[in-house]
Amino acid sequence: MIATVATLVRYRALIQSLVSRELKARYRGSVLGFLWSFVNPLLLLLTYTFVFTIILPNRQVDIQPYFLFLFCGILPWTWLQGSLAESCGVIIASGNLIKKVLFPAEVLPTVTVLANLAHFLLGLPILFAFLAWKGKLAWTAVLLPVPIFVQLVLSLGLALFLSALTVHFRDIQNIVTHVLHLWFFATPVIYSYAAIDETSLLRQALRLNPMTHVMVVYQQVLFYGAIDHWRGLFLAFLIGILFFGAGSFLFDRLRDTFPEDV
């Protein structure tokens, strides 16, 4: 695990160029170009606002204005979802590199996670603009890097795990899409964690999900402007470290098989 971190640090220049290449290549040739990084979250926000204020209006008191609450959760969730869905195929897609160039493969899933993080960060100004407009922007927003870091560790671990395993079991790519879907609803993104009865079984189950705690902290620092969920976030961080350890262990075990199987 430490070796993995060391490798990633050593190859930071490569990671940096690959991330910037990823960002440039994504919108290359489209009319709006980089603006898509702002337009995408905006359109996403519009869709959810339409659905949850007109079709299925949500009138729960503590999460008004609801579209803003939703936005605080959707943005980081998009990061997680994009990272994991893309990291599955990333080693197979770069088969040529793996087979022909000596090059640490863990760079690839890392680049996927970081490129998606960059998209997330580019969407933040839109979110801040809306928060300011609704008078919701509080000092707690400066704590935002904390949950971001926890989520980074968590998603790096999972990305390493998934990317390595998919080389051998291509079915994972399909499974992950559905697991992510389920995970989305098992995480308090479109509903409020606080509103669920503390003694209920559902609440107990949600607590086991590390993303629950990360999400709650996002909502607290951005939406509520008050934070008390540190313990939960710490738990999520420990689970994240565990994921990262397991992910880099598996990746290391399977590393030598990549050039032969991609």
């Binding site: 290449r21 440039k24 590199l97 087979k99 022909k100 000596l102």
Partner: protein
């Protein structure tokens, strides 16, 4: 020059081959039993390399030759560190740059400039080194005008040039080259060879995998010949290349012999039903199609190629004496007959043809078994495969037995001159011109290998 930069000890590489159907099974069983890692064991293996040992001293150029599939590329991948040996050890001291595939990892959507940066960093340059050498790389690739265009707009030649330029400017201690010089036009290949020569002059180590044996002889200090993943021979380039060429010629000899036997068997099988064959093969219909036809009143029962010592051979070197010996026969006496021989190149061009009638022999009679020999004093042909047509027919052309394209021999040469015909020749220079004489290149001696 003396310290080894690469040390391989008893290296073996075994590839695993999964049967595709089993992958689904393993996923299921992996999920059910949790035996994920143990399920990743090979089901079927393929040994690409076995018991390969060698040392490459610093500053030397090491060639690897062998037929396709003999493990050359696997060896390069091992030296590059892309894969690990299954058994044995392989130690490389220094930065390795592999020209295994040029431009591997170029992203089509972004510009040449950005691709160079990423490729160079991937191959081990730091940002600062890259900044210093960027101009040099672009100049070498001759792509100054296009460097800001997306790589997808490049021609394949431009792509290769850029890939080569990056790899060679990474300043590796060990450069691995896998048959990449075949790409690009004449001028660029020349430039690459110059760059490689310069690289050698600076005392860097090169490992060179190629089918271009001339290049191996010219550039390498030491050559490893791989055959089916094992060391067949190793040492002085000239000696190893000769041994390899002799082996390849031997293989071709065996193949031609097998084909010859098949043709003979076919001829024997057809003896009872000559009309049927005549119907099968329309003489003169379309291009050069192999076949046999004729009434068989005079029959060609066999053909052998003999060398000066009277041995059966199928591979010759230019200038050798060759005898085409035909065993012929006629069940009843025939008085009107001509024997002819024609030589054709692989493209079907008639190189030479003659017959007894053209040369003024008057037939008297043939009955029972006989032999007809055509002795060619010196085989004045360049390297290539040649088919031989032989025929017995009436003087008006009505065929008795026509063998078209059923027999062939090969000419192997150390000199790669072109065309078909190689007359005996010599260069002469006088006055204000001076050239270094080429090293003596005796043709291969094939007579020993083929006697068994």
């Amino acid at each position: 020059m003396s310290t080894p930069v690469i040390v391989a000890r008893d290296v073996a590489k075994v590839y695993r081959r999964f049967v595709h159907k089993n992958q689904f099974k393993t996923l299921k069983s992996a999920l059910l039993t949790g035996s994920l890692l143990s399920d990743l064991r090979p089901e079927e293996t393929f040994t690409a390399l076995d018991h390969v040992s060698f040392e490459v001293p610093r500053g030397s150029t090491f060639g690897v030759i062998g037929e396709n599939g003999s493990g050359k590329s696997t060896l390069l991948k091992l030296v590059a560190g892309i894969t690990k040996p299954t058994r044995g050890s392989l130690v490389v001291d220094g930065r390795v740059s592999a020209l295994i595939e040029l431009g591997a990892g170029f992203h089509p959507e972004i510009s040449g400039r950005e691709n160079v940066a990423i490729n160079a960093i991937m191959l081990g340059l730091t940002r600062r080194e890259l900044d210093r050498r960027f101009g040099e790389i672009v100049a070498f690739a001759e792509l100054e005008e296009f460097i800001d265009a997306p790589v997808k707009t490049y021609s394949s030649g431009m792509y290769m040039r850029l890939g080569f330029a990056v790899a060679i400017h990474v300043e590796p201690d060990v450069l691995l080259i896998d048959e990449v010089l075949a790409v690009g036009d004449e001028g660029f290949t020349r430039k690459c060879l110059d760059k490689i020569a310069e690289f050698r002059a600076r005392g860097k180590t090169i490992i060179f995998v190629t089918h271009s044996l001339g290049l191996v002889e010219k550039m390498c200090d030491d050559v490893l010949w791989l055959r089916h993943g094992r060391t067949a021979d190793r040492g002085d380039p000239k000696r190893v290349v000769d041994a390899y060429l002799t082996y390849v010629a031997g293989g071709e000899e065996a193949r031609l012999k097998a084909r010859h036997l098949a043709a003979a068997a076919q001829a024997a099988g057809q003896e009872g039903a000559p009309e049927e064959t005549a119907a099968e093969v329309e003489p003169g219909a379309g291009g050069y199609r192999p076949g046999r036809w004729g009434s068989r009143e005079v029959e060609i029962r066999g053909l052998r190629f003999l060398d000066a010592a009277g041995r059966d051979r199928h591979v010759f070197v230019p200038g050798e004496a060759v005898t085409i010996a035909l065993s012929v026969g006629a069940a009843r006496q025939v008085e009107d007959f001509v024997f002819g021989v024609g030589l054709f190149s692989a493209e079907g061009t008639n190189v030479w043809g003659t017959n007894t009638d053209i040369e003024g022999f008057l037939p008297k009679r043939i009955e029972g078994a006989a032999e007809v020999r055509l002795e060619i004093g010196s085989l004045s042909l360049v390297e290539g495969t040649y088919s031989v047509d032989v025929a017995a027919h009436k003087r008006d052309g009505t065929p008795y037995d026509y063998h078209r394209g059923l027999h062939s021999f090969k000419v192997k040469s150390r000199v790669k001159d072109v065309g078909l015909y190689r007359p005996g020749h010599r260069w002469g220079f006088a006055g204000g011109v001076s050239l270094d004489a080429p090293p003596p290149r005796p043709e291969l001696d094939l007579s020993e290998e083929t006697s068994g």
